[in-house]
Symmetry: C2
């Protein structure tokens, strides 16, 4: 894909249409049920419904629950769903099979894995998380009872990691600015200090290639309702590197994480492998939609997804520079696509009001107080002409005229 | 409803048909999508799909996720769902509004509430749970790090509760035998010793009247996929008595339990009330199905549900006595309906094989190792003639002839 920035003149509508015409991922949009008349730039908050997710949801509701009833559990494939769907997600985040399960929410998975990590480093009392990382991550860690919670600036991690640190927790892509962390470097930094590292992949799974195994990551969590299009509050996933499995213990000893779940024995014996982090009964309707949603990824090259995501971001920034200059909106995300995830944040002093006015005109973005508007770029269904329309509406709302 | 046992002769098919004909709850069965040719006596494991659950699920999938997208969260009624649906369940378990939320799984809710309870009794090191209580409950408590886990026989609770005990956890209805505990008496016993009590309502919510407030219960958890028909792995609920709210802290500090969830502040400030036990993003597909499933309860008198449940159990036992005598199957549940929940357990040395053979002939029950078959009685859709058919098939499989 030719980078739009190579044009050396402002991007115009025809450029956007031309980029769409030669987009190798363009036909994937047909897999989505998108409402008419809406320019949806909030797939980074809630991914869109796919036909396959809807189909699989109905299969499990009508064919499973409705017709087979308890047979879905006793004879069907429901019990294996957390591992089966987990492996499909693993393939999208660079994890070999047997290291990812679908379970609970990101919050709960972070709680389980972070608790388990602290037990592995009993002599160390500190946990590190950037102070502006996602709130639920900070809150969960603050509640773990570690002796010290260090919250450096995102850029000041190196200075905060020393021999006292048990665990470093970090979002791979910053939820506000989309700044992309160097997974290999930070993991190495933590390991050099003898600490474990836990990555939050909420804004990277399905948005860009992730290489958990190759980066020697210890632990990771992520949601599936953003770029993986699993549905509102879809079940989350967790990753634990195979080399750690035997030593990790979940603080929540639920029957789905038991090695002999239906033996109903007296003692709790954790399941072998990452399944020990399962807890209660799997919510099959949510898992069904997620499993269907993953179908759209079959055969998709993540390098192509990344290339389109970077181009979308570059084009959006070019459009803003070219058409909204002087209208009070600035780019709050890295301008270098290599340092940016798959959204672009704009800064404006009245961002909340502006986002509402955009939404009223069918351009759906996301307001993050106090002054950010996030524009999510979802390469499977966002078109370049969508960016053109969004920026035109933004320009008009900012008083830039038609 | 005339009790079948008043007949003083063995119940026959015509008696069953007559009981169905005058069953005031009979028309509720029309609300369910039940497969043809199946006698379903496993609603105590997975309740059946209702038309209203299916409708609401599709509303949220197509109309919410598909059409409104992020608007479901930002403008719709999704954020309030845990409390809204929780209050509807509260009405079925004797809890005034504002004390029940829908959240996570039973396992996770037990973990959160039991952890919070131990913090309220810091000087006490013992937790009590009957040794045969449901496995996940025992496993979760064993993992909490209490100094002592006391596991008396279910009948020997009184001897295990003393001034060392912080918390007593108990299933209201025993998952194997259906034995019903005296909620008022056990709660009083715990309180007299200065302990808190946490009831597991998995086999009682929707099966019989529960009086949490009236019994002065402290804490309770329960699933919604059995007698409440919420769907496979439907979200669970938790109850905390209002008088305790201010002092209870969840060990899992997630953003959905924050008092100002979207303020994204530095400190974790728990939400007022029971909402502080919410954790991560609510799985809306599961909640949608559950919310729809609860519609079938509108206007239903729980006393009538209990009366029918008791009659179903009495008739089933009468049929077994009258038609399967000497064939090797015995009743493992209390014969006194007042001491029994809403299933009847049968004991047979080859229960597993027998349950499979019943299932092959369309009579769906539930095998619990080593020797129990549970027959779930779900008053909203189980008919007396279903019991007749089940016992006839059982009799034939036991060699009793046609």
């Amino acid at each position: 894909m030719v980078r739009a920035v190579a044009l050396r003149r402002p991007v115009d509508f025809d450029d956007c249409a031309a980029l769409d015409a030669r987009d190798p991922l363009a036909t994937l949009r047909d897999g989505f049920c998108l409402p008419e008349g809406v320019t949806y730039l909030d797939g980074n908050s809630l991914g869109a419904l796919t036909h396959s997710a809807r189909r699989r949801l109905l299969d499990v509701a009508d064919g499973g629950w409705g017709r087979r009833l308890i047979g879905g559990w006793s004879e069907g494939d429901w019990l294996e769903a957390p591992a089966r769907v987990g492996d499909r997600i693993g393939a999208l985040v660079g994890a070999a099979p047997g290291q990812v399960v679908v379970s609970d929410s990101t919050t709960l998975n972070l709680f389980k894995l972070a608790s388990a990590a602290l037990v592995l480093r009993p002599q160390r009392g500190a946990v590190v998380i950037p102070r502006d990382d996602f709130p639920t991550d900070r809150y969960v860690l603050a509640g773990l009872g570690a002796r010290e919670l260090r919250t450096p600036e995102r850029g000041g991690l190196a200075g905060a990691i020393d021999g006292e640190v048990a665990l470093v927790v970090l979002s791979h892509v910053d939820y506000r600015t989309a700044e992309l962390a160097d997974m290999a470097a930070v993991t190495q930094l933590a390991h050099d200090a003898g600490a474990l590292v836990l990555w939050d992949l909420c804004h990277s799974a399905g948005a860009l290639p992730v290489a958990l195994d190759a980066c020697d990551v210890d632990l990771a969590v992520g949601c599936t309702y953003k770029f993986l299009n699993g549905g509102p509050g879809a079940p989350a996933f967790l990753y634990a590197a195979r080399r750690l499995h035997d030593r990790l213990r979940s603080p929540i000893q639920g029957w789905f994480g038991h090695g002999d779940q239906f033996g109903f024995g007296d003692r709790y014996e954790p399941a072998p492998g990452v399944a020990r982090f399962l807890t209660g009964t799997t919510g099959m309707l949510g898992v069904a939609a997620l499993e269907g949603a993953l179908d759209v990824w079959d055969g998709v090259d993540l390098a192509a997804v990344r290339a389109k995501s970077m181009a979308l971001g570059d084009v959006l920034i070019d459009l803003l520079d070219g058409r909204c200059a002087g209208l009070g909106v600035t780019v709050a995300s890295p301008r270098d696509a290599a340092r940016r995830g798959s959204h672009v944040a704009l800064r404006h002093p009245r961002a909340g009001v502006l986002a509402d006015r955009l939404a009223a005109r069918g351009v759906v973005t996301d307001f993050r107080p106090p002054d950010l508007i996030r524009c999510g770029l979802t390469p499977l269904y966002t078109r370049f002409v969508d960016l053109w329309r969004a920026v035109e509406v933004l320009r008009e709302e900012l008083g830039g005229g038609r």
